[in-house]
């Protein structure tokens, strides 16, 4: 096989279109021919770029009307009754009156079992038509009887009858005594949270009634329907492929069902642990799904970072018990790099990101939330608290802490003194790096004014001062210099970063923004090679000279995510990952004020939980931003910065006091010691202050130009739990929850409860709101794509 650089087979190979035999041949050839291999790499890069840009075009959707017309098969909407799709289903059932909704839920649960018994593959919602369903019932019973293993047919009947009950069919006599009456009562009395949970179990089973999901359904029915029937024999169903087992005894079955209810959701995707253990069920028929799940799990587990990309190890924050540990403290974070990274992996490469690349808080904070501006002129940001039902764990609450910094009038942006510190090393020579970097910086430059000053320093290659700071209105000159940045081979970047900080210091604008903007793909030959020394340098200069740092990450295969985030943190700065021109614009043009102008620094949040109301709590995300409680008031301890107009959102998942006993305290950290007496309930109670509040959020911050020794300002806000359900939560609350959920799902967090992609899509759909910039719709697309990848 001979091949020239211009052979179209190279392209076919790069795109995975070559026949396997030829592919092998070519591969061997490439090994001996580096220039040819480089050609292939370049083709791939161009392809990735094109693909990224094409998928980044504005979300294209049919209008609602067009869509319903399509679903109706060309008829005018409303004329033809067809089964609603998953979206339509959730919309209708969710907002119906309680009775209707609960009945509907029952119906779906019943169908869930029916389908599951008979045809696992058939989608549950496809047969929502109740009447048809009721008609099928006889056949159904026959089918059940025909199966080789015995089952307490009352369970199936119960499920079926629940549907029939709605149309008042005369099936009451077949029901266990008391049940017929119990049903409507359940329907009425189910509190919103439970209803939600119930629906989730159903929603979960919609596309793919897996064993655990079906168990969740059976558990749900078991719990809700049988509670009213003291004498009934509990039965647990839960086997695939048409096999059945019977709960061995009432108590056991009840207990199993309880456990199953809690743990089933977690079991999905964790199938490497024996499911039996997860579910607490005697399981005989799990073989097939077990293998499938296991395979999937391993597939997920082997998700690795592309090339030599590096991501720091992250561990999810566990639940802590409020009584033992009432204070939760963390530094705010407005970085958004992780979301852009996740988008790159899923959107462009069609693979799930490495779990450590997913920082949940950065995903949440990527989006704008409509928190009001601060009314209180004493503080530069408003604090917006909200609490509602946690959508992925029954009975739990979700608390949102949302900060909104004062917006800056674009005309009033203080003058900026910016030094671009540009990586011009050889590795930047690719379409996704240098050209993107240049166009991003050029975009920023176009928005500068006469009052601003810009300088450019390059490191590695042609290291040195490329542009002595000039006023911002000399745009053409600045852009010329940006355009002229070329890559050079060497790695002698003597003083790159020092020169940049020195220039910034020399041109310091008092009362203005003074920043070094580091743009790199992760090569850190900035003149200081030692990691610790670099961090220290950046920290010192931010403290001494008041010069902050913004880190912009570019490109693929080499990105040193962890280090970029770290150094931005030390340098009182932010880290953004620029995956496409659109993101460059977002960060450097649309959000210019937030990116450049801080309204507060060293912002810390401390949440004080009331143990009378909160059994345990968990901070979602911010894993590497947590602080010791005593550092909250140590004003020398560095924390996060907030830029003008920035929103910062943090979520806590809370196990309410009382709820935990029933559910075994979830994963709260046990702090019992053999040398310590366990405080009994009375002693605990005596130790508590009487208060209705769920928690208090305290904030501490410094003015952006405050020095190391200056004292910080502090204020606090209390929160009572209004006990509202998910359906009463705000759209921003829902959307933030769905983003957090997506992050947890991608991280395979052990705390993700009953989350799965379908539920996530539902939650996000309910929170999408007006979505002016289309970013939330893009998020939904991303979740869809992730679901497709996982399938």
């Amino acid at each position: 096989m001979t091949i020239k650089p211009d052979d179209q087979r190279l392209t076919a190979y790069a795109l995975g279109e070559l026949e396997p035999a030829e592919s092998v041949q070519l591969e061997a050839l490439l090994k001996e021919n580096p220039s040819m291999a480089a050609e292939v790499a370049a083709i791939r890069e161009a392809a990735a770029l094109l693909e990224g840009e094409l998928s980044a075009t504005p979300a294209l959707e049919l209008s609602e009307e067009q869509r319903s017309r399509v679903i109706a098969g060309g008829d005018e909407p409303g004329q033809k009754i067809i089964t609603p799709g998953p979206d339509a289903f959730s919309r209708t059932s969710r907002w119906l009156g309680i009775t209707a909704a609960a009945a509907c839920v029952m119906a779906v649960s019943a169908i869930g079992i029916k389908q599951f018994l008979l045809d696992e593959k058939q989608a549950v919602t496809e047969s929502l038509a109740h009447d048809q369903f009721a008609a099928d019932k006889t056949a159904e019973n026959k089918a059940v009887k025909a199966l080789p293993v015995t089952i307490d047919s009352r369970v199936v009947d119960l499920a079926l009858n629940a549907v029939a009950d709605e149309s008042k069919l005369s099936l009451r006599k077949e029901m266990p005594e008391g049940l017929a009456d119990a049903l409507p009562e359940i329907a009425h009395s189910a509190p919103p949270g439970e209803k939600r949970a119930f629906q989730q179990q159903v929603a979960k089973s919609k596309p793919r009634p897996t064993v655990p999901a079906a168990n969740a359904i059976s558990a749900g029915i078991e719990k809700h329907a049988f509670d009213g029937i003291a004498s009934s024999r509990g039965a647990a169903i839960g086997l695939p492929e048409g096999k059945f087992s019977q709960g061995e005894g009432q108590g056991r079955a009840r207990q199993n069902a309880q456990q199953a209810k809690l743990k089933t959701a977690t079991a999905v995707g964790h199938a490497n642990r024996p499911l039996k253990e997860n579910l607490g069920l005697e399981a005989n028929g799990f073989g097939v799904d077990d293998v499938k799940e296991k395979k999937k799990f391993e597939q997920l587990k082997t998700r690795t970072a592309a090339g030599s990309e590096r991501f720091g190890r992250l561990y999810d924050t566990p639940f802590f018990q409020a009584f033992e540990r009432p204070l939760s403290t963390f530094a705010v974070d407005v970085d958004t790099a992780s979301y852009a990274n996740v988008r790159r992996y899923i959107g462009r490469h069609g693979q799930l990101p490495p779990t450590d690349a997913v920082r949940v808080e950065e995903m949440i904070n990527y989006f704008d939330y409509a928190y009001p501006q601060p009314e209180d002129s004493r503080h530069p940001f408003s604090v917006n608290l909200e609490v509602a039902a946690c959508p992925w764990e029954k009975g739990h609450r979700l608390v949102r802490v949302g900060l909104k910094a004062r917006e800056m009038n674009p005309g009033k942006r203080p003058a900026s003194n910016l030094i671009f510190l540009v990586d011009a090393s050889g590795s930047m020579n690719s379409p996704l790096k240098l050209p993107l970097l240049k166009s991003s910086l050029a975009a920023l430059t176009r928005n500068l004014t006469e009052d601003d000053r810009i300088g450019i320093v390059t490191y590695t290659g042609n290291a040195g001062v490329a542009l002595d700071p000039v006023h911002g209105d000399l745009k053409e000159k600045i852009i010329d210099v940006i355009d002229g940045i070329g890559v050079g081979g060497g790695t002698n970047g003597a003083g790159g970063i020092r020169v940049a900080y020195d220039l910034a210091a020399k041109n310091y604008i008092k009362g203005g923004t003074n920043r070094v903007i580091l743009a790199t793909d992760g090569d850190f030959n900035v003149g200081i090679t030692d990691n610790g020394e670099l961090s220290k340098f950046v920290k010192d200069r931010s403290e001494k000279d008041g010069i902050f740092l913004t880190a912009l990450g570019f490109g693929e295969g080499n990105i040193n995510d962890e280090r970029l985030e770290q150094i931005a943190n030390k340098g009182n700065g932010e880290y953004y990952y620029i995956d496409c021109a659109k993101e460059g614009r977002r960060v450097l043009v649309d959000k210019l004020s937030s990116t450049l102008v801080n309204v507060a620094k060293d912002v810390k949040i401390q949440v004080d939980f009331n143990p009378a109301k909160v059994d345990s709590y968990r901070l979602i995300g911010y894993a590497n931003r947590r602080m010791k409680a005593q550092d909250f008031r140590d004003d020398k301890k560095d924390a996060g910065e907030i830029g003008a107009g920035h929103t910062v959102t943090a979520l806590y998942q809370i196990v309410p006091a009382g709820a935990a006993k029933e559910e075994g305290g979830v994963a709260a950290v046990k702090t019992e010691s053999r040398y310590r007496k366990v405080a009994d309930a009375d002693a605990r109670k005596a130790a508590l202050v009487d208060s209705d509040e769920l928690l208090t959020v305290a904030l501490r911050y410094k003015a952006p130009d405050a020095g190391l020794e200056d004292e910080a300002t502090e204020f606090a806000i209390g929160l009572r739990d209004s006990m509202k359900g998910w359906e009463d939560s705000s759209q921003d609350f829902r959307f933030a929850a769905s983003v957090a959920g997506f992050g947890m799902q991608l991280r395979e967090s052990e705390f993700r409860g009953m989350l799965d992609y379908d539920l996530l899509l539902e939650l996000a759909g309910e929170g999408v709101g007006e979505d002016e910039n289309g970013l939330r719709k893009e998020f939904i697309e991303l979740v869809r794509k992730a679901r497709k990848i996982t399938k």
Binding site: D6, Q8, L10, T11, A12, L15, E17, A42, I43, A46, A47, L49, L50, E51, E53, L54, S55, A56, T57, P58, A59, L60, E61, L62, S63, Q66, R67, R69, V70, I71, G73, G74, I82, T83, G85, A123, E126, N429, P431, L434, P435, K438, S439, S440, A442, A443, G486, C580, A581, K582, G584, R585, E781, R784, K788
Partner: protein, 174 residues
């Protein structure tokens, strides 16, 4: 297969098609028609047409079917337009003015997306296969089915298109 079962299958197929291909088809149609609204209409028609098909026959080649139908519909519209253009040139020109050109749309939201600008500069046939490949996420074979070009022809066009694109990009980067 009973009639009922077929209807079920059909609905399932349409729903799957919507979920997986809605955005990609509209993007593709918009690139031919240079008008997002008309692209939506075409895609709506495509899906409705799908509804009338025998699902058993299409299931296996859904993507190719959708893109083929969508493409033909787009080309029909363009042909019709051309005829009209001769008659009522002025009127059509007006429609064109109002029409949302996707490349312009993309440019507005992101004026520095050089790649999209470069893509627009490529010859029509290269542009189309590149879009099918990277927007439609199709294989050479699927593209060949949609465009009735031979597989090797598709391979050549993609190769040549990417190469030109790279040329423009590196020229810009240098």
């Amino acid at each position: 297969m009973s009639e009922n079962g077929n209807t079920d299958k059909r609905e399932k197929l349409v729903r799957r098609a919507l979920e997986e291909f809605e955005a990609r088809l509209i993007g593709y149609a918009a690139s031919i028609l240079r008008d997002a609204d008309r692209a939506r209409d075409v895609v709506q028609d495509t899906f409705i047409k799908l509804y009338g098909q025998d699902p058993g026959k299409i299931e296996g080649a859904l993507k190719a079917w959708l893109f083929t139908v969508c493409r033909n519909r787009c080309l029909d519209i363009l042909r019709k337009e051309k005829r009209m253009e001769n008659i009522e040139q002025e009127q059509v020109a007006q429609i064109h003015d109002k029409a949302e050109d996707p490349s312009r749309l993309a440019e507005r939201s992101d004026e520095h997306s050089e790649v999209m600008r470069f893509l627009e500069r490529l010859p029509e046939n290269q542009k189309e296969v590149l879009r099918l490949k990277f927007q439609g996420e199709m294989s050479y074979k699927e593209i060949s089915e949609v465009t009735s070009l031979s597989v090797s022809n598709v391979g050549f066009l993609i190769h040549a298109g990417l190469k030109r694109l790279r040329g423009m990009l590196s020229h810009q980067a240098a």
